[in-house]
């Protein structure tokens, strides 16, 4: 069997691009694993001489001597933020999507795009009143405040994901239950919710990723370094001149780990969420 030269060219291009996408990962990994002695910018691309985890330890625990904050508590803050915020917004999205897909009312065709617009706005256009309102609600500067913010601004996308998902469920299923005398909530509880798993997986992954990766709300709503989510701490770490660049790289890898793991193990559903984000799901 001979290989056509055009096929070879295709593979060559694909591999060159793969190298482009993986290049930063390579640098993250080799830099993070180098010992402090062998870390130098001109040797950035060289492999480490052995496995050292000093950079990861320093990025995680910080350094009292150098006076910078590690990622550990803030990583935990992100967990405390992401888990409830993701669950609550998926639940809300599921109920909204159910009503908008199966119980259309007068005005629901208008309500839906009005909700959707909320996921495209630049959040800068709500930040000033948001801070003022959170202060009045005694939620400013706290993790519950951040949870609240992510739940509210997560409504559009989770509603979209579930509405699109429930639209694929035959309406006859709902009609038949109605004839059997089931109520709206009964149908949700016993008919729709049990088959909602695919919708939940997509919505949970989407919200997990975008809340974990959020920076703007974190930096505006939580000015106190002890309360901030991990992205904000990483940004401070990277913006500091006293923190060595290998520690910054190790920190970036640590902060990226949860969403990377989700991507590696649940990539298929991640993809579905992405395509839903383009409204065409």
């Amino acid at each position: 069997m001979t290989v056509q030269p055009s096929r070879l060219l295709i593979y060559a291009i694909l591999i060159i691009f793969a190298a482009f996408y993986l290049m930063p990962v390579y640098v993250l990994l080799v830099t993070g694993m180098k010992g402090f002695v062998e870390v130098s910018l001109p040797r950035m691309w060289d492999l480490p001489s052995g496995l050292y985890f000093d950079s990861f330890l320093r990025a995680w625990f910080g350094s009292q001597a150098q006076g910078f904050r590690g990622l550990s508590t803030n990583f935990l803050n992100s967990v405390k933020l992401v888990v409830p915020a993701t669950l609550i917004s998926a639940m809300l999205g599921s109920m909204n999507g159910y009503v908008l897909a199966k119980w259309k009312f007068r005005g629901s065709e208008v309500l839906f795009p009005l909700l959707l617009f909320g996921m495209f706005i630049p959040y800068q256009s709500v930040l000033i009143p948001l801070v003022q309102t959170l202060q009045k609600m005694q939620l400013y500067g706290s993790i519950p405040g951040l949870i609240f913010v992510h739940v509210v601004y997560g409504i559009p996308i989770t509603t979209l994901i579930f509405r699109n998902y429930y639209a694929t469920v035959p309406t006859e299923l709902v009609e038949a239950s109605k004839i059997d005398g089931a109520s709206l909530l009964g149908i949700y509880r016993w008919v729709m919710f049990p088959i909602s798993m695919p919708g939940f997986v997509v919505a949970l992954i989407w919200q997990f990723t975008s809340i974990w990766n959020d920076f703007l709300f974190g930096v505006v709503v939580t000015p106190n370094p002890a309360v901030q989510p991990v992205t904000v701490t990483l940004n401070n770490l990277a913006g500091s001149y006293i923190v060595e660049w290998n520690v910054q790289m190790a920190g970036a890898l640590l902060a990226a780990l949860p969403t990377l793991l989700v991507y590696i193990f649940l990539g298929r559903y991640f993809m579905r969420g992405l395509l839903a984000g383009s409204l065409k799901g």
Partner: protein
């Protein structure tokens, strides 16, 4: 009949909290920001005396804002063009019955799972200009090793490049997304269509040129809208990678807004920037939402 009305009430009750939250936190807050942008609030103390469009006037006269607008246009054009071209190229290549297609796809798409902050931290070092003592580092060093020293550059530290370097990092992060969208679109095109063209004697290239690409137009539109609105709002990446840069060469309106509002306490000026940002995004998104709603009704 009574049961039906009760269900009506429940349906409204279910959706009411979300609808009210969005009404207040999106539309109400936008209105409030609009008010602040017309007021004289410049400092810690809230001052809501209306001054008309003065803040906007001043803003457009500010050099930093003019540079920001210029940067946004440059960034958007470069980021959109390169993401669309790379995304389409990769999708077409992956569509050629490639062995281990899944692996390639995963590699191209994984940056989407990362935070812009992580991307910014890594690319800051990759596009580091190096220094006289250190010599070349990062990508420049790679160019040196490959004998492509000519391509070396100061990247984001060079004011003539500035924001374009940030666009490289953004393309790295988002082009896989475009690839995925195009690929999903191509897989939706029935094989018969290609087969018929082949029977008519069309070459593979012609099939893409005259059949597949025209059918992918709605996807190009979606991609332009999605990437376009991300590009107008870009903030995290600039924040982690470069900050406003020398002479604001990497500054963008979203960063200026954050800076002037929450560091400088110039609330009215910040609000004016936010409203301009919102209007630019709305000009892109609202026609798209209307268009999607219409085609959905037709279906």
């Amino acid at each position: 009949m009574r049961g039906l009305t009760w269900d009506r009430v429940t349906s409204i009750l279910l959706i009411a909290p979300s609808a009210i939250a969005i009404l207040i936190f999106v539309y109400g807050f936008i209105g409030w920001t609009g008010w602040v942008s017309l007021a004289r609030w410049d400092g810690m103390l809230q001052d809501l005396t209306l001054v008309g469009l003065r803040n906007y006037q001043k803003l457009f006269d500010t050099e930093r804002f003019q540079i920001d607008l210029h940067n946004t246009v440059t960034f958007t054009l470069l980021f959109l063009a390169s993401s669309l071209v790379i995304g389409l190229l990769l999708a077409v290549l992956l569509d050629q019955r490639i062995r281990s297609e899944g692996l390639f796809r995963s590699i191209y798409l994984f940056p989407m799972a990362l935070s812009f902050i992580v991307t910014g931290v890594v690319w800051r070092w990759l596009l580091n200009p190096g220094s006289r003592e250190l010599g070349s580092v990062g990508v420049n060093l790679l160019f040196d090793k490959a004998g492509l020293g000519l391509l070396k550059s100061g990247w984001y530290t060079d004011p003539s490049i500035g924001i374009k370097a940030v666009a490289i990092a953004a393309t790295w992060q988002m082009s896989g997304y475009v690839m995925a969208m195009y690929l999903a679109g191509m897989r939706g095109i029935p094989e018969d269509l290609r087969e018929a063209a082949r029977v008519d004697g069309a070459s593979e290239l012609e099939i893409y040129r005259h059949i597949i690409l025209p059918l992918l137009q709605p996807i190009t539109l979606s991609a332009v809208i999605i990437l376009g609105h991300i590009s107008l709002k870009i903030f995290d990446l600039v924040s982690a990678m470069t900050g406003p840069g020398l002479g604001f060469c990497t500054d963008v309106p979203a960063y200026f807004m954050f800076d002037t509002t929450f560091r400088g306490n110039h609330f009215s000026q910040g609000a004016a920037i936010a409203i301009i940002l919102l209007l630019s995004v709305a000009a892109l998104i609202i026609p798209y939402l209307v268009y999607t709603a219409r085609t959905e009704v037709q279906r």
